[in-house]
């Protein structure tokens, strides 16, 4: 939970934001950078002694050239308002982040959010072709531009994606846009006993790859009921002709795996997809912790089962999503009964990281969060990362202590 801040400021111009940063940096005031706070379950929570700098008043489209498939937006623009504007020109940017009505472009990029369609459309960092960043001392720096191919110097924009606001504050993002797929079709399939492994294998070998293919167990507020072995959520995007074949192939593949029923959820497919993304960070009041575990696609099923069983071993409830296309495992541990919950979360954190060193927390407001390995085991290059931070933000003004390895 975001503790009570000493102050909360949302500058309405880039100049004001820079001036504020310069003042804080000179005075030794720590700054928490916040967008829509939809991913506030990520990272080490702020200590409460920081000034909260919100980018939400820096919103709006700077320039949009649909014929170029590029758009430039201010960082505080919400994903939803961006999507609404681009939809008029039949385009989109596949952020696939939760709560798009509140999530901002800057916050989503800074958090390094990774969605389930990236195997098809690319990582958000690969869509960021240029940026303007306010450095800790209030200096503005530009990187990249508004062209889709650019190798003039280091790719600073990509480095800012996922840097959690610790190198600077993203104020403008130039993005590649994509044409909206004409047709979207979703499927939900409950898995009878003994069908999961084969169904997942068949999904992975489909000629026409789904945009989303996930195995789900739990997350009861999402579409569909679990069979004995959970359920599948599948989304196809493309032309009508292509989706006709995709549907035939999918039905045949699931049929061979012994998964009898699949339900087409045509018109509601987008809505179900949005709720599916929201589930990644959905919490059970203050009684849950959700991890994301990156793994290889061929190990995602085994990894998801292992994570689920670990959660259950500590008498916690497990909800699981296994992203079959990208190899992401999302596992939420929760318990209605709060007795010893903090302790249980801590032993789970130990056990989970022993099995999956890259497991990281993406959601959960339980007060124990600061004591968990929220970023997973430190990466090999951590010393260089610390050196980068020191070089960019020598007074540790920006989001101090909230990122990997105490950065």
């Amino acid at each position: 939970m975001m503790p009570e801040a000493i102050e909360r400021i949302a500058p309405d111009s880039i100049e004001k934001l820079c001036e504020l940063l310069a003042r804080c940096d000179a005075a030794g005031t720590s700054v928490v950078v916040a967008g829509g706070e939809t991913l506030r379950g990520m990272g080490v929570p702020p200590s409460g002694n920081e000034l909260v700098l919100q980018t939400t008043a820096l919103r709006g489209i700077v320039s949009y050239r649909p014929a170029d498939l590029t758009i430039s937006v201010q960082a505080g623009t919400t994903l939803k308002s961006l999507a609404t504007r681009m939809k008029r020109d039949g385009q989109f940017v596949p952020f696939d982040a939760p709560k798009p009505a509140h999530a901002t472009v800057g916050g989503t990029l800074a958090a390094g959010w990774l969605g389930p369609r990236r195997h098809r459309y690319g990582r958000p960092r690969d869509l960021l072709i240029g940026s303007t960043i306010a450095l800790a001392d209030g200096t503005l720096a530009h990187a990249g531009g508004i062209v889709v191919k650019n190798v003039a110097g280091y790719d600073m924009s990509r480095l800012y994606v996922g840097s959690f606001g610790t190198l600077g504050v993203l104020v403008v993002a130039n993005l590649k846009t994509l044409p909206l797929p004409p047709v979207v079709r979703g499927f939900v399939a409950p898995l009878p006993e003994g069908t999961r492994t084969r169904a997942i294998a068949h999904l992975r070998s489909l000629a026409i790859e789904p945009s989303v293919a996930a195995w789900i167990e739990g997350f009861g507020n999402l579409e569909g009921d679990d069979g004995l072995e959970g359920r599948l959520f599948i989304l196809f995007e493309g032309s009508e002709t292509l989706l006709e074949r995709a549907t035939r192939d999918l039905r045949s593949a699931l049929g061979r795996a012994g998964v009898p029923e699949t339900s087409i959820v045509d018109e509601r497919a987008r809505d179900i997809f949005d709720r599916f993304i929201d589930a990644y960070v959905s919490t059970v009041a203050e009684r849950s912790i959700t991890y994301r575990i990156p793994t290889a696609p061929d190990r995602v099923e085994a990894g998801a089962l292992e994570a689920r069983d670990l959660v259950r071993r500590f008498a916690l409830d497990a909800d699981v999503i296994a992203d079959i296309m990208n190899g992401d495992i999302i596992v939420r541990a929760s318990r209605r009964d709060t007795r010893d919950l903090a302790l249980k979360f801590q032993v789970l954190d130990d056990a989970l990281h022993a099995a999956q060193p890259r497991a990281r927390v993406i959601a959960g407001d339980h007060p124990i969060r600061p004591a968990l390995r929220v970023w997973g085991t430190e990466p090999n290059a951590i010393e260089r990362m610390r050196a980068l931070k020191a070089r960019f933000d020598p007074h540790a003004t920006l989001n101090p202590g909230r990122f990997v390895g105490g950065i």
């Binding site: 530009h142 190798v151 002709t241 290059a381 990362m385």
Partner: protein, 465 residues
């Protein structure tokens, strides 16, 4: 000093791995752009440990280190400017691991780009970035420049396809990065850093499934404007084919003479369009694109009927630069990228810059990306022509910048364009890049005098090649 450097390298790495004769050194003093200085020594290591040892020894002798792939770079990126130790990856050229289930491969940096796709083909996979140099350029070099290619329109450039790196740093220590690591995305920062932040000794790269269906079409136009407007029309209609390449009359003529690829020689411009995907959607795609190009005044439309015909059309495109030898003994390739909708203006600027300087120009480029490659043809023995080429190249840079474009779309900055960096970036912008350099290479011992502009020229270079 040099003698003891040679001795140290030989005793640590063996005679075979160290080249020191002037004739041998000369081979490593130039790339496809220019001649640099002779290096002090060339090391051809066989593994990561040997790279690490070479860097440590070079450091003892205060020698900079220049990593080198195949030397096909077009902007002096692999050329020693102040001497130093060149590390050639000619012996580290293996595919180390092919992970078919997860569609990825671990490779050594000296692996030739095309060889990876060839070795992955029987598993139904290929490596997407395909620079024109792919028959000789190495993936390590491609990583250093974040190389592109015709198919980057839909697949993205090299950085989109690199999953993890093993790096030898400026002190000779090894570290690794992985896109799934928590923390800063160092993989993204290292790709395209032109050997100035570390030396890649192995990489995991992404592979894609071989598409089920591929179609190649050729549309001819009466003038270059209508062809570039057709490009905007296709992209603007929400169609992003796998490749969308343009060639002008000069190129079409030489290509047809050299390859008999089947290009219409009466056209002022042709578009080579490829779409890869599924059989089911090809017809719809073809009619949609065909409608657009015809609405923009296309003179003819030709669909390759067989894989052989397809390959012939592509062979013309890929061999275009070489074929210009029929016009002039030398050519210089400019590389700029502009917002796609400004292509017609950019092309007019190229034409007038060449005309003003009395230089023959041929355009063959990645139109779908707005990535121009004017080929400026000249004879390097003629000082006037060399000067005219440089002036034309500069005018094209200026035009691209004025249109909101950039000074390099896919070839890199290297030595050639480092002074031009100040034309697209402010001092603050460049200072931020320098901060990254400060962390990874504080002594500027990795590929010095590249990317970053400097007030003084440190070496007299030969003319452009």
């Amino acid at each position: 000093m040099t003698a003891s450097l040679h001795e140290r390298l030989r005793s640590a790495l063996g005679n075979d791995a160290v080249k020191t004769t002037p004739e041998d050194l000369a081979v490593y003093s130039f790339d496809a752009y220019t001649d640099g200085r002779l290096p002090s020594a060339v090391v051809i290591p066989g593994d990561t440990r040997a790279v690490s040892v070479a860097v440590k020894i070079a450091r003892e002798f205060n020698e900079p280190v220049i990593a080198r792939g195949a030397g096909t770079g077009l902007c002096g990126g692999a050329v020693p400017i102040v001497g130093g130790v060149v590390i050639s990856f000619a012996r580290m050229h293996r595919l180390l691991e092919l992970d078919v289930a997860n569609r990825r491969a671990r490779i050594q940096p000296g692996l030739v780009n095309l060889h990876l796709s060839q070795q992955a083909a029987s598993s139904g996979l290929f490596y997407a970035p395909d620079p024109a140099s792919q028959r000789s350029s190495t993936i390590g070099g491609n990583i250093a420049t974040n190389a592109g290619g015709p198919h980057c329109l839909s697949y993205g450039t090299t950085v989109n396809h690199v999953l993890a790196l093993e790096i030898v740093d400026e002190r000779g220590e090894v570290f690794t990065t992985d896109v799934d690591d928590a923390g800063y995305d160092l993989t993204a920062a290292l790709v395209g850093s032109e050997g100035t932040l570390g030396i890649v000794t192995s990489a995991w790269v992404k592979l894609l499934r071989t598409p089920e269906a591929v179609r190649v079409w050729l549309a001819a136009f009466p003038d270059i404007e209508s062809a570039s407007e057709a490009v905007s029309g296709i992209i603007g209609a929400g169609i992003v084919p796998t490749a969308l390449e343009m060639m002008d009359a000069v190129i079409v003529k030489v290509v047809e003479e050299a390859f008999h690829a089947g290009y219409p020689t009466d056209a002022a411009a042709v578009l080579l369009i490829e779409n890869a995907g599924f059989e089911d959607e090809m017809q719809g795609c073809e009619s949609a694109i065909r409608r657009i190009v015809q609405a923009h005044g296309a003179l003819s439309w030709h669909a390759a009927r067989t894989p052989a015909e397809r390959d012939a059309l592509w062979a013309g495109r890929k061999g275009a630069a070489g074929a210009t030898g029929r016009i002039a003994p030398n050519y210089y390739t400019q590389d700029v990228c502009v917002p796609r909708s400004t292509l017609p203006i950019a092309l007019r600027a190229v034409e007038s810059a060449a005309a003003e300087n009395d230089i023959i120009v041929g355009n063959v480029f990645h139109a779908g990306d707005g990535n121009l490659h004017p080929l400026l043809m000249y004879d390097k023995r003629d000082a006037r022509q060399v000067g005219a080429v440089l002036a034309t190249g500069d005018a094209i840079l200026r035009a691209a910048i004025d249109l909101g474009g950039t000074i390099s779309g896919e070839h890199g900055v290297g030595y050639e364009k480092r002074e031009a960096m100040t034309r697209v970036y402010t001092t603050e912008d460049l200072a931020v890049m320098a901060r990254v350099r400060d962390v990874f290479d504080p002594q500027r011992s990795l590929n010095p005098e590249k990317i970053f502009p400097s007030g003084t020229r440190c070496a007299e270079l030969g003319p452009v090649r």
